[in-house]
């Protein structure tokens, strides 16, 4: 059966607890380095004043998006973008719900406009002067797979390079207990619908059923993968970091996986 969607990976960005960027992640995966102590995500695409004030979700998403676009060599301004997150900025949601319960008329207007699920897409398009389409999506626990399917669909349908960023931050407060996200993680991919001999090809096909997660066997990677829905990208990130052709299944919805053939550049 031929793949439903073929896209070429022109750029990758990643931030995980212990890996401040894609290069650091590759070094850890290759066994040349150990997970370190990372600081705040480096969202250098944002202007300095925005970077200081930006909520964690925006920093995380903009940091990985910036890495991926830089690697791709493409202009961010021309890239349609899909920002995926299961839960958005849970710290702001926790603040909003706590404030609304006690002193609703004192709600911060800045927190409110930062609470929208498309805040990272908004800040990103403003910072990069991007007038292309931007989206903010959630697929709940299967957010990464749903976001990857959406971004690859957009790339092939409109014949355009597309930026995908999937991010989730750690949950806090009573909400955090419900979302059970224990740490931050984000990944970004620049996906091209055009064949590129130097890029890894992803052949993506929806496939009924959920096969469950596939542990990598590495304790650090598997703990990151279990920490939040965006981190379900870990098996794919692992394959990309090792530059290894492989086949993966990634959950994209209830009773729906996407089958992903990772094909190395010839």
């Amino acid at each position: 059966m031929s793949a439903a969607l073929s896209v070429w990976v022109k750029g990758v960005g990643l931030w995980a607890p212990g890996a401040a960027d894609w290069h650091a992640f590759c070094e850890i995966v290759a066994g040349r380095d150990a997970p370190g102590t990372e600081g705040r995500p480096m969202a250098d695409v944002l202007p300095p004043n925005e970077r200081r004030r930006a909520p964690e979700s925006v920093l995380l998403a903009a940091a990985v998006a910036g890495q991926a676009v830089r690697m791709s060599g493409l202009e961010a301004a021309a890239l349609p973008c899909v920002f995926a997150s299961a839960h958005g900025d849970q710290a702001i949601t926790d603040y909003m719900c706590a404030t609304l319960a006690d002193t609703p008329t004192e709600l911060s207007p800045t927190k409110f406009h930062n609470s929208v699920h498309n805040a990272p897409a908004g800040y990103w398009t403003i910072a990069t002067h991007c007038h292309a389409s931007s989206s903010a999506v959630s697929g709940g626990e299967t957010t990464f797979g749903a976001g990857l399917l959406e971004a690859a669909t957009l790339a092939v349908a409109d014949d355009r390079d597309v930026l995908l960023a999937s991010y989730d931050i750690a949950g806090v407060g009573p909400l955090g207990e419900m979302t059970a996200t224990t740490g931050p993680f984000a990944i970004a991919l620049v996906l091209s619908p055009r064949a590129d001999a130097t890029a890894v090809r992803l052949d993506i096909t929806p496939s009924p059923g959920n096969s469950g997660s596939q542990p990598t066997g590495d304790a650090w990677l598997d703990s990151v993968a279990a920490s939040n829905p965006s981190a379900q990208a870990i098996p794919l990130a692992h394959a990309l970091a090792l530059a290894r052709s492989t086949a993966l299944r990634v959950a994209a919805a209830r009773e729906l996986d996407i089958h992903v053939d990772v094909e190395l550049a010839a």
Partner: protein, 400 residues
Amino acid sequence: MPHPMPPLSIRAYTATSALGRGLDAHADALRSSRGGLSPNDFSSAPLDCWIGRVAGLEDEPLPAELAQWECRNNRLAWVALTQDGFMDAVRDARERYGASRVAVLLGTSTSSIGATEEGYRRLDHGRMPEDLHRPVLHTPHSLAGFVAAAFDLEGPCLTVATACSSSAKVFGNAERMIRLGLIDAAVVGGTDTLCDSVLFGFNSLELVSGEPCRPFDANRSGISIGEAAGFALLERVTDGSTGPLLIGYGEASDAHHMSTPHPEGLGAEIALRDALARAGIEAGDVDYINLHGTASQKNDDVEAALVARSFPATTRASSTKGFTGHTLGAAGMLEAAITLLAMRDGHVPANLGATTPDPLCGPQMAWTAEQREVRIALSNSFGFGGNNACLAFARVGEPA
């Protein structure tokens, strides 16, 4: 510019808002220019404003088998799904194509955050109370998860949450997936319900009016927030297709500011041009535009100027937020349904609420209702973060 797209058939659609439940209730209210706004009796602390509230949701629990999804937002979605034969149409599509070939692609701004707010109002020793210990509710994906579960659908399932453009953009998601053969049908639409987050949130930005909203009025004073749910079933056009068509859509970003639109409406204009290009039509082909028209100072300034400079006077335009309030993430779908009704009934809705036209408005504005043939129509939806969408529809039998 994108290439023209093959039109999609809208096999069924429905809407529920402050105007009532289902299409006939909306058509009746629009025909008689009777709005649905009422003084705010919803927020957990007094807030002097008007709202578009759907009556009776408090007394209508979900069916027992869906009880884990119980919350106001999913109740409103359920009420909407049970109107206009929509459930039967979706079950029929599932039967014809299979559960994994029908997608659920829904827009929402706040989903069931009202349930999360409620949990925080009555925390149990600092934790979510037992009856709200339901993780499926405390996520933006609650609505789409609920609808997929209600129909036992197993295709792609995605929430689009781009504030007030959310449930317009899902038409684009569906078109792409159908065109590429990933699916055969899609349930699109959206739901947003009244909750403290949006009432106090928009109040904190000083965007909420103390009176019923007056879109495009020179003396407008802000938005009125409403709640709504609406859904449409999209499929490929076949020889036997009846019903209206989705003929185009456009999406673009302002790249200007998080909570105010681009002063020249740049993103809105790109979305409009994109929609016209996909539809293979020109501005002069458009008979009616349902405007975003929130009654905020800046949105209406920008949108009035965009319409005035882009369309001939024969194109009629109105905002229907004076009828329903601004239903946020549900507005795209609600106003798509109103646009489809305008085509069905040959009735251009009034721009309810305005008494003194903003001088920026052009001759396109339908200040009062008009009986007139509507063959091709657009619906605008613009959101926070500079997120713009425009949908294009054709009446049945009209070539795109």
